[in-house]
């Protein structure tokens, strides 16, 4: 069985940990500083007052004038989610965290350990704790597990057997499908409002009308494909942080701080000569919120300059003055497996290489051996950077 654990509104719950009194009042997660003015998840009191997640800020305030806006705490939410995933992993589940607040895991490996499917799912809920209102759905397929979790109440588990799957999915809303907002409206205009109605249409007709996205959604409405869940590799816990004596908004100071953090993080003994594949830069803001950006390097590297250059442009995206800057080395490569030189630079090797190339040329003809000559290595257009020039001597 594949299980899906969901925590709706995790970002809001994480942000409310700073001001727990707001949890019982109408409150919503404030829009991102540089994004569209759409509110995030809302509290139950706000929902009762008619405020919906994703509503325009003006409309939400007009609907509920007493609505409190909670500053987003992106780094806090990431950290809380990481703790939750870690707690599941500590209980023996191999977890695939699909997005913030949604994680999948296979129960097959732990069912015998905990005495069956239901006890294993209860164990997973216990590992997460009651604070987050987590719920779990389990089914033979990923999408079906997500759909089951969407109908479960906080702290509840819903298990859907394979033979009940079509009947279970049929009455569920289309919003469970990963489609653009316009597509839902298009489907509603066609009279398709439930998964069962979409699943009942011919696949070819759906693909023709809605394209590849629609075809995929149609496949999901019929239960989705039976793919296995691959657990993540637990992230490396190598980080360095710098707290400023007073809030800093100056880019030059932040760049210098970043350079120092990169050097410090790379020098940590826990890194053990491993190369960095993914990094994250997080900041605690003066306004009380936080900010976080993760970046996967194109080539794993342990070169401080390279990591600094890759991260520096992100500093411009900071929404306000910073009280603390933190660098996390999220993914590291294995200590072995770094590509070594094929041939050491030595006269004997060069001579052997020349002989080898002569033989290749003799057997394949003139023009078969080329040298790469850089002509404009700075060019942004890859094919303008170098030429292949035949090497016939």
């Amino acid at each position: 069985m594949i299980a899906c654990l969901t925590i709706p509104g995790l970002e809001l719950k994480a942000a409310l940990r700073r001001t727990p009194s707001l949890a019982l009042r109408p409150a919503a997660l404030a829009p991102e500083p540089q994004g569209e003015p759409l509110i995030g998840p809302v509290t139950a009191a706000a929902e009762a007052a008619g405020v919906q997640p994703g509503m325009r800020l003006g409309e939400a305030l007009a609907t509920c004038p007493s609505l409190a806006l909670v500053e987003p705490d992106a780094a806090g939410a990431e950290l809380a989610w990481e703790e939750i995933v870690h707690a599941l992993e500590d209980s023996g589940f191999s977890v695939d965290p699909a997005s913030l607040g949604v994680a999948y895991f296979e129960t097959r490996g732990v069912e015998r350990l905990y005495g069956g499917l239901e006890p294993a799912l209860r164990r997973a809920l216990a590992a997460v704790g009651t604070e987050w209102d987590a719920r779990i759905g389990a089914a033979g397929r990923r999408f079906a597990a997500l759909a089951a979790a969407s109908v479960a109440r906080p702290g509840q588990t819903v298990v859907v057997a394979d033979d009940e799957l079509p009947q279970f999915l049929a009455p569920l809303p289309l919003t469970l499908l990963p489609l653009e907002r316009g597509r839902y409206e298009e489907l509603e205009a066609l009279g398709v409002r439930k998964l069962g109605q979409l699943a009942g249409l011919p696949g070819g007709a759906v693909a023709e009308r809605l394209g590849p996205d629609g075809r995929r959604a149609w496949g999901l409405a019929r239960g989705g494909t039976a793919a296995r869940v691959r657990g993540r590799r637990p992230p490396a816990a190598v980080a360095a942080s710098l707290e400023f004596p007073e809030a800093v908004g100056n880019e030059l100071t932040l760049r210098r701080a970043l350079a120092g953090l990169v050097e410090t993080a790379l020098a940590r003994p826990e890194r053990r000569d491993r190369f960095v594949r993914k990094v994250a830069l997080a900041a605690r803001l003066e306004s009380g919120g936080s900010w976080r950006r993760a970046l996967t390097l194109r080539e794993p590297s342990a070169d401080p300059d390279r990591i600094r250059v890759a991260l520096s442009p992100r500093l411009v995206e900071l929404p306000g003055p910073v009280v603390e800057l933190r660098l996390e080395l999220v993914e590291l490569t294995e200590p072995t497996g770094h590509q070594l030189e094929l041939l050491a630079a030595g006269a004997e090797d060069r001579s052997r290489l020349r002989d080898g190339l002569r033989q290749v040329r003799a057997s394949t003809g003139s023009g078969s051996v080329c040298t790469v000559v850089e002509v404009a290595p700075w060019s942004r257009v890859p094919e303008s950077r170098a030429l292949l020039v035949p090497k016939d001597e």
Binding site: G211, P212, G367, V381, E383, L388
Partner: protein
């Protein structure tokens, strides 16, 4: 000298044929409504690792307008594809 994507423009240097290194190759890409690749040469895309745009030489008659995607295919292979705004086609490219 910038060749339009898909053109295998060559030059002659001292009588020898010189070709571009990492020239783009036409690819069959199926993309979603946002233009994100779903399939590259009939192989499904498992993950889009990165995407970026290259806009260059806009002051010439051969402007370069490309939307690049570094993707991992379901076979595990890493590949870079781009949509060429000038020719309206998809290409794969190494060294991007």
């Amino acid at each position: 000298m910038v060749a339009r994507a898909g053109e295998s423009r060559t030059a002659r240097a001292e009588g020898r044929v010189v070709v571009r290194f990492n020239a783009p190759r036409a690819a069959r890409v199926e993309a979603n409504a946002n233009g994100t690749p779903l399939e590259v040469n009939h192989r499904a895309v498992a993950l889009v690792r990165e995407e970026w745009r290259v806009v260059d030489r806009w002051w010439t008659e051969e402007p370069v307008i490309r939307g690049y995607f570094e993707v991992v295919l379901e076979s595990g292979e890493n590949t870079v594809v781009f949509y060429d705004g000038a020719s309206g086609g998809w290409y794969t490219q190494r060294g991007a």
